[in-house]
Symmetry: D2
Subunit: 417 residues, 4 copies
């Protein structure tokens, strides 16, 4: 027996690749389709509309197909309301709970399509029918990580009554920011690409947007710390997300003039230098933290110094490979994720510098609409980060030690002009 | 003033991504389009048909857009005959000569669409109106590298009268062979993927197809030489394309039991061993070549031995980093390319093992319809090879030293069954 | 004015590279040396002895030189007792505290050289004069991480009275285990090297030693989970150190038959599969943990299952990129490090499989005398791990998806024999 | 029965690692040693001297040990004259011919130690007793590749009468140029290291030395072509060794403003651009070569243009992956090697930029005393090049697209000062 359902898609569904993915999904999963209607936008600015009946030999296959189409933005012809089930206990979601994508999403609740807030992938979708004192406000919907689910939360199950809106290909260009492109090539002109990033950074700030920098220890080793500190001092960084290692290397530079024992200007490697790392941590523990160390004049320059001086929202997330750690480091992973999540949801542009661990952590919390720049010397890292699915991303396989100074130069020369 | 032309596309143009690429190209290049007609295949087996008018503000932009659409299979509404210009001298092509893609191509000559033979990218397209004694045969068309063009050859210019047929997405599955997928992931189950390659290899041979292996020296260093020799001995390899280094390492193993001086079984590194390499070359020069060395019993096992014994079509292409070289090595790059080209055009399945240089050389000569398997430990190499554009390719980031033995085991266990 | 001190070195100080490093350090740091006496071992089994006076123009340089020589095993001619200072507060060490190396170390306390226990680098060195009820026992010395230091702990400062014993080059062979070799070459025969690892693994178990496996999620993605589970089931793994991702992928395989949604045997990619990951976590949270899931029959195979069934000491350390996490995951980094430290100090052989983060965490806790095997497809990862300084290490750049099955085959075929 | 020989070593044999390697080799190969005498240089400027008797159970082992010691600079106690055998035919060397290292070497001929000229590894060593008309000149010795050996050449066999002089560790510093260091770390401050390379480049030119640049196509793709052209124009490059691809990309930029079709300044990718590559080659063929294209005003800027204008010694070596090739490309590998060899023997500093193939070709011809700088984004490439064994090398894992502009800036700002 054949099982069928009819779905609808609309938007720039041809050139955004939506139709290709939908047709492909049906065939890959062993179903078949009949195109009921296909109104192709006559012009590049007109949207297309498609009504499609998909069929499969068994209900499971049909469900899998519908799931895939759903994720590409298809909605059932006659959508029903979102199905909500109360969470039976803290951190426990109902079976078959709806797990979110990172695309803008709506739920059909009480006859209306409500925007889901705080979009983030792999979360539960919770509807709050009465979100508070403001009686007139109506229901709200938002994502919750498994950890944050509370007993009684109304959690969406299945996918009915949920509409996903994947980003569409911009009608015009997009410069260095590619649309949903997976591959990463080292074969791009480096300085021109950095100039585009610089322009984007300035543009975001000009529009009052928030810039978040995610930085790994290599930024300091490679001698790029001063340039990043300059960007912070000039107000181009609103949030910094890093780890214990990054902060320690940066503080070591201010206290001892070395990074992991190497003088990054003279290249001299004071043999005793590899103890500077652990001594730096000990020194910061002694005074009680980075702010105290700045206040007491122990730390007088560098990225962490500028973050303190410029009130940059800073999160240092701990990891099992940390030495110390510094008192400022959040050692609990869940607590650290929550802090990162707050930063990520504020950001309009995220610049990921030479850290896979922290970049993935940040990327996990980002909606697909946030612009991201990923820079690493390892192409596998850049590929992995781009695969997370920002619709507007620049990936650069380059040397962080020349990237940051060049970026700072391009950004700051604009200030002089 | 607006300049416009109307083109037509047909086939599985939605799910093969053709429409997406065409619409994208028009917008990227600053033109606009009007869809005159779009008949969408109602069912996954029905082809679609689209008639599209593209416009631009100036004739140059229009030409660029038409060029791009052309490469995606679009033809002008009323195609004119191919434009042919005689080459003014050997190796000199007319200005604005048509440079081929690697997709199946036809030319409209004397009122008929003729298939272009020996498809290969970045070549001139030559039409031979009277290809020989066989009067009844009619005109033929084929590709010629710049080097091979002779004075008087009728070379196609512009793109009118030329139709490109990019491969379409297979209607069903495709197993491990992905359709036009650029990205490469190390995150695939290794042994299962190798099993699929083994099945494909057996299938190609069962159908009487030709298998070409492209191998780098790492195959021998990594201890995989015996396994490759077993595949050759069992008749699974019809052509071998390699370099002087591969052959020398393999011959060294047979003569001295080492590869670059290391015993690949005991891992002992006879200190004197690094001289074995140059002594091996000297020994082969002395007897006059590899066949002679086999005949005289100097070489008694290994890949080169089995290739001689099993009449495998072998090409050793020289490079500037070669020691020696062996007398069998073709030191002239153009001559070597021609030899590789002959092999490549025969192949139904090409397996590229741990060599970027030789794989690119082979890839340059392949039509997009030849199945290829690319194996390398460096993801950048695999990505670069897949980017060359085979429509059916498997890329594996894995260790050649375990890949080849596992492949041989899977292929040959089928023989026992 | 010239400042000088005389130090002594003994052991196989020429062929272990000690003298080369010491002479180099003096020259690099701008000092000079006079060899007072150098008795070279006449035969390869005889130790050498060297008395050396080093000089520098200022006391700081001399101190830096002495520090460097100290770390290579030099002791002052007339060593004084270790200098101990009480820690002023919890987690606060005295200024100029001695930061440990990962080499076996002794302290001169109360006229006797005492072995330092729990050797680990970048720690404080604490002496406990009266370690407990057992009056006859005498003083003990051990390392403490900064975090673990308690107010009043007697912490060693400076380096006087401390003797470091770097590992010496083994007199014979060492097989695949190189002595202090930093570089990594992919140009080694893969299967032969794996066979050596297998033999070492069996040898360690035959001698009653402990084997610790550190595993990343790629072990499961790559289809190697079954082989690792087989090794666990056969009793070859005493401790497993991994992360939330590894465990989740493994549990997903048992529950859904997929890893990140891909069936690792058939390579089929159920489109809905990428939800399996988050559903798996939700399921384990529901029942309360992995052991409960095994007990209730929800998880019936795989690495985690075998670890539960075989009482393998398992640590799952959390990180900021985790989904969930599972209830078994230790989310606090310091707590997780302490758990890893216990495992690491027990281990006689550590096998690091495709995870940089967890391998570094484990490596940080290891003395330089523990044998380690590092396997990753990324040469940069292997290099970084070998640089941590095990004296006996094998680094392999290979595919974890073929490495583990081949290793298991080689190890287990020994059981049948 | 025990077989023994006595050898002598002298120089800075401890801190250059010579003794460590020699003792290690004896033990690895299963021999034993007795130190007859060991005079250790008392001070860092004094040389040491060692007389050593090595023994083995069989003559083969002893020979292998002696070979290894020989390569580290050991000479037999009573060295005999070099053993010469006439080559029986062109390209055929006598059995057991001596294959050279890349270290400075002498031969004992007619009672005198003669320097071997044109030092290069894996060559035959030929002595010419009467090197020409200049009767008073005495015998000369030089290396010859197997290919260049002529019938009757007096070729050294065995290693008696041959003394190798491996480079010694410099007494002081060495800056960024490491001594014989194999490993490569990305963890170095990028801009400071580039500044050191710039200073070295200026120093070599100030001393009248020759600078050779080896460049891959990525130099042009990455937008670094202008900076390299500036260095050529300013007279900092004496020789350029590259391939057909590099030259074509550079010429394409001059003719079409694109590299492989991409505008490296605006990042625009004219869709038709990928035809520029093949059109460029066709254009150069038409006019007869690069010099002609410059003379006719077709090529007016770029690296190749500056090389023509500044009479830089340029070699374009062909390879099997070339398109075209250009008429200037030497397609025969042996002929190309000979041309590269001439360049390499002249060079005092070699800078290798993002090409493995050409860098290995050049490295093969270099004595161990030539300073080299290797720059690539792939750590495996840098490692492989450093392993070739220059005694003074800098390896940088960085982005060629930012490296060359930064280098040019640092070098040329010195000109203004």
């Amino acid at each position: 027996m054949t099982h069928s359902r009819t779905v609808e898609l609309e938007g720039h569904i041809i050139d955004s690749g939506t139709m290709q993915r939908c047709f492909g999904a049906v065939m890959d999963l062993g179903g078949s389709f009949d195109v009921e209607r296909f109104d192709v936008g006559k012009h590049e600015t007109e949207e297309s509309h498609c009504r499609l009946t998909v069929s499969a030999d068994d209900p499971e296959t049909l469900r899998d197909i519908l799931h895939e189409l759903h994720q590409n933005g298809a909605v059932l012809e006659d959508p029903s309301e979102v199905e909500l089930v109360a969470a039976p206990a803290d951190r426990v979601v109902p079976p078959n709970f709806y797990s979110t994508t990172n695309h803008p999403t709506e739920v059909l609740y009480d006859g209306e399509w409500i925007d889901v807030e705080r979009i983030e992938m792999d979360c539960a979708l919770v509807v709050d029918p009465e979100p508070g004192a403001d009686a007139g406000e109506g229901a709200r919907a938002y994502t919750k990580t498994l950890n944050a689910v509370k007993e009684g939360d109304l959690v969406a199950t299945d996918q009915s009554g949920i509409r996903v809106n994947p980003p569409e290909r911009p009608r015009r260009g997009g410069g260095a920011f590619g649309f949903m492109q997976g591959g990463v090539s080292a074969e791009r002109p480096s300085e021109s690409t950095i100039r585009e990033v610089a322009e984007e950074l300035r543009a975001v700030k000009d529009e009052g947007g928030d810039v978040m920098v995610v930085a790994g220890p290599a930024v300091i080793h490679s001698g790029a710390g001063d340039a990043l500190a300059d960007l912070v001092a000039a107000g181009y960084v609103d949030a910094l997300s890093a780890g214990n290692g990054f902060a320690t290397h940066d503080l070591e530079r201010s206290i001892y003039g070395t990074s992991l024992g190497m003088n990054v200007e003279t290249l001299e490697h004071p043999r005793k230098g590899h103890k500077h790392h652990i001594w730096t941590i000990s020194e910061i523990i002694r005074v009680g933290g980075i702010e105290a160390a700045v206040a007491e004049g122990i730390v007088t320059e560098g990225v962490m110094y500028e973050c303190v001086e410029n009130d940059v929202d800073t999160v240092l997330a701990g990891s099992v490979r940390d030495d110390g750690p510094l008192p400022d480091t959040i050692t609990d992973a869940v607590e650290a994720q929550d802090a990162i999540r707050e930063q990520a949801h504020e950001a309009d542009l995220v610049i990921m510098l030479a850290t896979l661990l922290h970049s993935v952590a940040v990327g996990n919390c980002l909606p697909s609409t946030t612009k991201t720049v990923c820079v690493d010397i390892d192409p596998a890292t850049v590929t992995q980060l781009l695969d997370r699915g920002s619709a507007q991303a620049i990936g650069m396989v380059t040397d962080i030690g020349t990237f940051v100074p060049t970026l700072a130069e391009f950004v700051l020369e604009g200030d002089d002009a």
